[in-house]
């Protein structure tokens, strides 16, 4: 328990009388790649929203590196080392790719109103370093030539990768990815698998990903948590989870569960 980097304790959330999350527990160890799967409406995105501070749970706690983050503003939680991406593209369309990445360093830079408007040296140095970091980040994902493209001129797949890079540039401890592989073709899937591993191995970032692309989840995740109707119904290695009867029932219904156990 104490080794967990991110810890969710007995979290419950209701919207207008409907219990979307019901007493969820989750512990993610540092360096883990955790998959979060489940049928639609299971509460997966809500879970990420609670962790990142967008919704406050009605009960329960969330601990990041031992520090309780429930009730804090999302921007404060980001500062503490939590990053996330979203199901829909949230790239800043009014900036170039390079500027998007530099914007990812917002909470790691500190030039204020005075330093920036007066163009003081402290600010200029900080800005140069930020640009440098942004270029290195582009190299890491192999998209250096996109630096000056406007955010609005990228394909969907490209946007998703830049958004991940933008989240990583701020040196987070944990990154929450909401369906990052949406729309990826089979070829790209293999590349993406590699990218996720590199992020964990080379940058030491712990990942939690919501995914529907089961193949990716099975390949890359160390542990998988399965949610259904707001409850955690299974947790374990990908193989354990794949064969769990409750999971099969949640996805495919009782009939197929019976058929599966029969075969």
């Amino acid at each position: 328990m104490s080794e967990a980097l991110l810890s969710v304790r007995d979290v419950s959330v209701s919207f207008g009388g409907v219990k979307v999350l019901d007493g969820i527990d989750l512990d993610v160890k540092p360096g883990e790649i955790r998959g979060l799967i489940g049928p639609n409406g299971a509460g997966k995105t809500t879970m990420l929203n609670v962790i990142s501070g967008i919704h406050a749970p009605h009960q329960g706690d969330v601990l990041l590196d031992g520090v309780s983050i429930v009730g804090r503003k999302p921007s404060d939680i980001a500062r503490l080392g939590l990053g996330r991406t979203f199901q829909t593209s949230q790239l800043y369309r009014g900036m170039t790719v390079l500027e998007n990445l530099m914007a990812g360093l917002h909470h790691r830079t500190k030039a204020g109103l005075i330093a920036t408007s007066l163009n003081l040296r402290s600010y200029r140095e900080e800005e140069e370093e930020a640009e440098e970091a942004a270029r290195l980040s582009l190299e890491f994902i192999g998209m250096s030539e996109f630096a000056d493209r406007p955010g609005s001129a990228l394909s969907f797949g490209q946007q998703r990768v830049i958004e991940i890079a933008r989240t990583l540039i701020g040196d987070p401890k944990v990154v929450l990815l909401d369906e990052p592989a949406v729309g990826l073709s089979l070829n790209r899937l293999a590349e993406f698998d590699t990218l996720l591993r590199r992020i964990r191995d080379e940058k030491g970032v712990t990942l939690i990903l919501i995914e529907h692309v089961i193949r990716l989840v099975m390949d890359v995740c160390d542990q998988v948590t399965v949610l259904s109707s707001g409850r955690r119904i299974a947790e374990g290695t990908p193989d354990t989870v794949r064969n769990d009867p409750e999971v099969i029932e949640a996805y495919l219904g009782k009939e197929l569960r019976a058929r599966h156990s029969a075969s």
Binding site: T45, F86, Q90, D178
Partner: protein, 293 residues
């Protein structure tokens, strides 16, 4: 006691004027998600057209009303084609300012055509002009006609949105334009229809209200802003909200004017708006849509 009743009644009647304007605004917003800042001018212009037909040219009342409403519909469609369709994907500021631009053009045109005829043009009422006594209070029947008109329009449109196919298509388009296109709804036509309908309501409102308010080219904006305030107060997508908002503002104005100071009439609506939006950002009856990310 009699002062209170008088103020309430006065507020109710002014409020129904605002409600009528608000209804037109909400109809357009319900279907397109946009506020037509030229709504007041559409209202004003159609009113003048009715005046031109009925008072100047002697056309009987009902045909004048119908022609004015049809003309209003056409103006609404024109606004849609000029200011909305080319800008569908632009940011909201551009949209708002484009409709403001049209408002200026309409106001200027009205001033050119009819401005010279005298400052405030009178318009004969649909009912007899003789005041009627309700208990101890004197009421002009036209005021009741306005209130009745507002309620009828509200009920008609509530039914329209809930029961007719066109109404449901409008709501679908407002909810999710892409999905609506996928199921075969011609959203461009829906938008055009919505703008036209909103403007037609404005035209009907103008004809009902003109006997009480008189006609002048600048009336558009002052009524628009009260109507807009009423629509927001009620929750921008709620038809009953528009009526409730309008009447609330009318009553608040009357009470503030009567009990505090007459100068408060103009401003009390705005104080209320600021307060309501802070406390309940989506208005009295509006719904806050949950965003999916």
């Amino acid at each position: 006691m009699i002062l209170l009743t008088y103020l309430l009644l006065s507020g109710l009647t002014t409020g129904s004027l605002y409600a009528l304007i608000a209804l037109g605004i909400v109809v357009v917003n319900k279907a397109t998600g946009v506020i037509n800042f030229a709504h007041g001018e559409l209202f004003m212009f159609s009113g003048f057209v009715a005046w031109m037909l009925h008072v100047q040219m002697g056309v009987p009342y009902l045909p004048s009303l119908l022609v004015a409403v049809a003309f209003g519909f056409a103006l609404g469609v024109m606004t849609n084609l000029i200011a909305f369709r080319p800008l569908k994907n632009a940011n909201i500021i551009s949209l708002v300012l484009a409709t403001i631009g049209i408002a200026f053009m309409l106001r200027g045109t009205a001033r050119v055509i009819w401005g010279g005829k005298g400052d405030y043009l009178p318009f004969p009422p649909i009912t007899s002009p003789e005041p009627v006594m309700i208990g101890d209070i004197m009421v002009i029947p036209q005021q009741l006609a306005v209130l009745a008109g507002a309620l009828v329009i509200m009920a008609a449109f509530a039914a329209f949105f809930r029961l007719t196919r066109a109404g449901k298509m409008m709501q679908a388009t407002a909810d999710n334009a892409k999905a609506a296109t996928l199921v075969g709804i011609r959203i461009d036509r829906i938008y055009m229809l919505s703008f036209g309908t909103g403007a037609a309501i404005a035209a009907a409102a103008a004809v009902l209200m003109a006997p009480l308010t008189l006609l002048y080219p600048d009336m558009g904006f002052s009524f628009f802003i009260k109507g807009f305030a009423a629509a927001v107060l009620g929750g921008l997508t709620s038809l009953p909200g528009a009526v409730l908002g309008g009447i609330s503002i009318g009553i608040i104005e009357a009470l503030a004017g009567g009990y505090i100071h007459s100068s408060f009439i103009e401003v009390s609506a705005f104080i209320v708006i600021m307060f309501v939006l802070v406390v309940r950002p989506t208005g009295l009856l509006g719904s806050s849509g949950l965003r999916r990310v």
